[in-house]
């Protein structure tokens, strides 16, 4: 029996820890993007006017339409972003692919997204831990995503947990 404990952590992960990846930028947000998002997430009810009625929204503290905080301007890119290296999310010693699950997330919101905004995102690997779980040896990877608007204002930070087994 080997003294070495099983690990799915790779050298690439150790090298990438804390280092921000390349930034990517979404197309400008339109009123239609926001209205459709709000209609889909409120279906079959009518969404709040702040998400689609410019005249109403002008009289609120926001002075115009804002997007729901969970709105994703990165859906439907014309050019697909290259996926991250699987080695950044762990690797089995026997080379078989790991299965992934979304363990959850915490989003902290800053400036609201508005029609015309251009949002850029960057990601970094924060840390990880491994333990024996219900699904066998399991790697929990914590990563951070940061969104900023065209004025450099922080729009959102997301801390998410990826489960790899």
């Amino acid at each position: 029996m080997s003294d070495e404990a099983i690990t799915y952590v790779t050298d690439e992960m150790r090298a990438a820890q804390g280092v921000w990846g390349e930034s990517r930028t979404a197309p400008p947000i339109t009123e239609t993007d926001i209205r459709r998002w709000a209609m889909a997430t409120h279906y079959p009810e009518t969404p709040p006017r702040i998400y689609w009625d410019a005249e109403y929204a002008a009289a609120t503290r926001w002075g115009g339409i804002i997007a729901p905080p969970d709105f994703n301007p990165f859906a439907w890119p014309v050019e697909r972003p290259k996926g991250g290296s699987p080695a950044l999310a762990g690797q089995r010693p026997d080379g078989k692919p790991l299965t992934g699950m979304n363990g959850g997330q915490t989003d902290t919101y800053g400036a609201p997204m508005r029609p015309g905004d251009v949002i850029s995102a960057r990601t970094r690997l924060v840390d990880w831990n491994e333990r024996e779980g219900r699904l066998g040896h399991t790697l929990y990877v914590r990563s951070e995503i940061e969104w900023r608007n065209q004025n450099g204002e922080l729009v959102k930070t997301r801390m998410s947990i990826g489960i790899r087994y």
Partner: protein, 138 residues
């Protein structure tokens, strides 16, 4: 119905916000979030992924429901500052999902009147699916 910071007390409950979900809701969400994952769209793919009942709903849509419930409670002039949850269980077709929440703290911080809540999305049987927390500023 919206609330004011002064009115809110620790232990107050978030008004229930519910949706029955199935393909009509999941397909609309897939269309806006470009989330065309087979196990959310096709019963056979859902069974292949290990869910005997077939296709199942998106965690991200439950997250949206949490945000919507908070917005309805606090009104358009208030701020959803933070939402976090863990996806502990999936939700099935035609489940009636209800966002629940309870106020755990009130704090004046960073120039804002903030209210902290424990939140969850439960099914029609009361089964919790995604425990979490939220912070709103009023």
């Amino acid at each position: 119905m919206t609330v004011s910071y002064e009115q809110i007390k620790i232990g107050d409950k978030l008004p229930d916000w519910s949706r029955k979900t199935g393909f009509a809701e999941w397909n609309r969400y897939a269309a806006v979030n470009e989330e065309f994952v087979p196990f959310h769209m096709d019963d056979e793919a859902g069974r292949r992924a290990g869910n005997e009942q077939g296709a199942f709903g998106m965690g991200n849509l439950r997250y949206a429901y949490i945000v919507n419930a908070l917005r309805e409670w606090i009104g358009d002039d208030a701020i959803v500052r933070e939402v976090g949850c863990q996806y502990r269980a999936i939700n099935q077709k035609d489940d009636v999902l209800t966002v629940t929440g309870e106020v755990t703290a009130k704090k004046a911080e960073d120039g804002e009147n903030r209210v902290y809540l424990d939140i969850n999305v439960v099914t029609q049987t009361g089964a919790p699916t995604c425990p979490g927390h939220a912070v709103v500023a009023l």
